[in-house]
Symmetry: C2
């Protein structure tokens, strides 16, 4: 399992990490239960900041593709194969597109939609 980071790629570094790890799980290069390199270790190998790797790990754990066991390190999640196929972002886009489409059909300006969205996201809830 080798990971390649391209600084010039417009895709964010943490996103490159996520997609490559998910791809590794699906291709079988990374197997459930298998140990992942530590955050600092991987950051050093890829010459990335540890925060960048930590961000990727945090999202991968939320998606249950990896599992962190505190001081014991990080491992591929038992259900990783199934979960790495779930595209949460695609679901969000689908839902949002439906919403936005309704607004546009009602004659709402894109600018107004953006403003409303901004207000929603700034309200703590």
């Amino acid at each position: 399992m080798d990971i390649t980071i391209d600084i010039d790629d417009p895709e964010p570094l943490f996103a490159q990490l996520i997609s490559q790890i998910k791809a590794g799980v699906q291709s079988g290069g990374l197997k459930p239960g298998q140990a992942m390199p530590s955050i600092r270790q991987l950051a050093g190998d890829l010459e990335l900041n540890s925060k960048t790797v930590a961000k990727a790990y945090r999202l991968l754990e939320r998606d249950e593709v990896i599992q962190t066991r505190g001081y014991r390190g990080t491992f591929i999640h038992p259900e990783a194969t199934r979960n790495s196929e779930i595209d949460l972002a695609a679901w969000v886009k689908e839902q949002l597109a439906e919403c936005v489409g309704e607004f546009r059909r009602a004659g709402v300006t894109d600018s107004e939609i953006r403003i409303a969205f901004g207000e929603i996201m700034n309200e703590r809830s």
Copy 2:
């Protein structure tokens, strides 16, 4: 019907115009059928750019609070009283809040929601 524009108010100038004209309709200061000042006229009086006034007028006409009749000028819409009470922005916020709330409950990051929203708004206008 006097309109006051406050440059220091964080609310955009065109939005100040819209809300004050809607308020004027609801208070009865502006009656259906009544002529509105021309865009250039109002812009001169309030020391605003004509584009700013035009933007307010465009949105007011979409909401059917005013009516433009080409070279004949702009008038208060016959149904202005009813339409000035409709808060399209509030409806949009309500719908969006419901959507976003579902995302957050699903564990989606605010950052991810913002990114998905940005993609939706940029693909196809």
